[in-house]
């Protein structure tokens, strides 16, 4: 029985990785400028016979794929961690208002400073917006956690998350009112989400923070398995809950914050990917769920990104729209499962 499951899992994982490779290739070739497979091979072997194609391929498409993969990993692991922290299957960076917190941080850094005639991004660089997004998401995650200590009900907590999101939007509106036109435009584009605005330098920064977040999550995977049994069970097994909770906070915040800083709020990937992973692999073990959710998250985000550039058309849809279209049915399905909402 157990052996069979191992083979089955290995088989599925192999297929999923092949899917990731295929999707990546499609995503690289797809775009307003179509690149053929042969062109891509040529570009990889000997660069620079076509300068503009070269730029598109190496400075836009490849960074976009890497961004998509990194974001998929980060959002899904962050969602998984939040679901464990709140014992809530509907927890995720977007629905709990934590992305809004990151948004608030970014709004403050992009528009808030412009109100005083400063350009924060110019002053602090992209590290500044990552920091602002992480601080914002961390603060909101802390708020929602404090609320969760009082509210045990799954649905009520989500309402609280929505309220926090609305509060963030209200403050952001205020900033929009007083900010300069240029920074307002910058912010509105950010809210639509995009995987293709990251430069190599930003990618380096993003991969560092995500790497730290992922490493922390792997480090706490085993105690999280025990913690999933409840606070009492975890404490009586000798787990220092406060320490694990702090590490979880740091990890989830770094992961959600850095993605949101660069790509905007990408909805529903974080909530849906861990559920699909649980459903396929029938496990609640974090040691498995962390890599598995990451794989599913990457696939979802790649599909969402391919859909932004509708095949055979020239329409470009914001990625936040496509992730929602993919994620909402899954979230609905979780809600309809009703009382069996276990993680």
């Amino acid at each position: 029985m157990a052996k069979l499951t191992k083979h089955y899992n290995f088989f599925i994982i192999t297929i999923l990785i092949i899917i990731i490779l295929v999707l990546s290739i499609i995503d690289i070739l797809n775009g307003s400028v179509k690149i053929s497979f042969n062109d891509a091979i040529n570009l990889l072997i000997n660069k620079s016979d076509n300068n503009s194609l070269n730029t598109i391929f190496f400075d836009i498409r490849i960074p976009r794929i890497i961004t998509a993969i990194l974001s998929g990993i980060a959002l899904s692991i962050s969602g998984l961690l939040m679901q464990t922290l709140f014992r809530n299957p509907l927890a995720g960076p977007y629905v709990l208002g934590i992305s809004s917190g990151a948004g608030l941080g970014v709004a403050l850094s992009v528009m808030g400073f412009s109100a005083f005639g400063l350009n924060f991004i110019e002053v602090a660089g992209s590290g500044g917006s990552i920091l602002a997004a992480c601080l914002g998401s961390g603060f909101f995650m802390f708020l929602i956690f404090v609320i969760s200590l009082k509210i045990k009900d799954v649905m009520t907590l989500l309402v609280a998350g929505m309220l926090l999101g609305s509060a963030a939007s209200a403050i952001i509106n205020l900033f929009q009112f007083v900010s300069s036109e240029q920074s307002l435009k910058l912010f509105v584009i950010w809210t639509m989400g995009s995987l293709s605005n990251t430069t190599w330098q930003q990618l380096a920064l993003m991969s560092c923070t995500i790497l730290i977040g992922v490493l922390i999550s792997i480090f706490i995977a085993y105690p999280l398995n025990v913690w999933l049994l409840g606070d009492d069970n975890a404490k009586s097994s000798g787990i220092n809950i406060n320490k694990i909770r702090n590490l979880l906070f740091i990890s989830a915040t770094l992961l959600a914050g850095s993605v949101t800083a660069f790509c905007g709020p990408l909805a529903f990937i974080g909530i849906a990917a861990p559920h699909i992973a649980r459903l396929i692999f029938k496990t609640s073990n974090h040691k498995l769920l962390i890599p598995l959710s990451a794989i599913i998250g990457v696939i979802m985000l790649l599909i969402a990104d391919i859909l932004t550039q509708l095949p055979f058309t020239n329409f470009l849809i914001p990625i936040n729209t496509t992730t929602s279209l993919l994620g909402v049915p899954i979230v609905l399905w979780i809600v309809l499962k009703g009382k069996k909402m276990w993680i």
């Binding site: 029985m1 157990a2 014992r87 480090f219 995977a221 085993y222 105690p223 398995n225 025990v226 999933l228 049994l229 409840g230 606070d231 009492d232 069970n233 404490k235 009586s236 097994s237 000798g238 787990i239 220092n240 649980r278 692999f281 029938k282 496990t283 609640s284 073990n285 040691k287 069996k340 276990w342 993680i343």
Partner: protein, 338 residues
Amino acid sequence: MENIVTTKELITGYYNNGKFSAIPQYQINIAAKEGELIALIGSNGNGKTTLLKTLAGLQKYKSGEINIFGNSPKTANKLDFAKVLSIATTELLKIAYTSVYEFVMLGRYPYSNFFGKIKNDDIEIVNMALNETGIIHKKDELLNRLSDGERQRAVIARTLSQNTNVILLDEPTAFLDIKNKFEIFNLLKTLTLKFNKTIIFSTHDINTAIHIADKIWLLKTNCIINKIPEQIIFDDDLANEFNSDYLQIDKNSGNLNFINKSSAFIGLEGNSKIQTLTKNAFNRIGFEISSNKNITLNVIIEEKGNSFIWKLNDKNEIFIFNQLEELLLHLKFYKLKN
């Protein structure tokens, strides 16, 4: 034998907005020895769960001392303490995809490195725990697919795999049917005898507790009592704590009896084996047996081969019943009329 669990002038309770509310309102001084099976009983709200959680270090206490195998839950290293004492609370296990085997393996947390690499002796102890609790045949089943009885076995198996001297269980037989309940009680008894573990469990099933436990910790409203069951019955401690309008503790057996309120009297004659049952039935529908010869209602039981007949004499009118049930219906109707 030495005490391996002791408390000295312990005041338990909980903090609410920084203020401490003591439950119960007195100092707790108790002790448990190696291999003892201890039943913690008491009315709701007297602090059974609070005491168990406090002993396990899950809840803060105001003052006093706790000593568990030389460790205090307040100061001991958490991992070391987890090797001495394990507890199963009534916390709900809401996990979708954890198998019984994985669940019991998580009991090995205090013994493993931070990444939880499974060693050979982990596998050995987990298999032993699954075997002893009789759940090994369900080891690949998901935890949330188990029946209540099976889940309780898995929970006890997890405390066993934690390999501690002391095991605390908060109401391990709540929600169980009577067969499973007795099997779990028997399991606890076996574990204390076979592995010399000290098991302290809270229960509302006093009737069974006094028949299997080595010691009873009775949390009363004004003090805690720590005695062997027979002493507790002999000293009338149970009666003093639990006797009420509807509940009476039998002084000899310690059994709990329901008190039926009687509003009428009836005579009962005949010397057959069915007499006690008939008397119980009369009590149940509110008739008290009277030895007064002049009573208006009188029943005589006669033996007829393998069966019985009940003759009811009601003011010189005689009714004959072949079934006790019919007699009871008649009496109920009689009570309504008068």
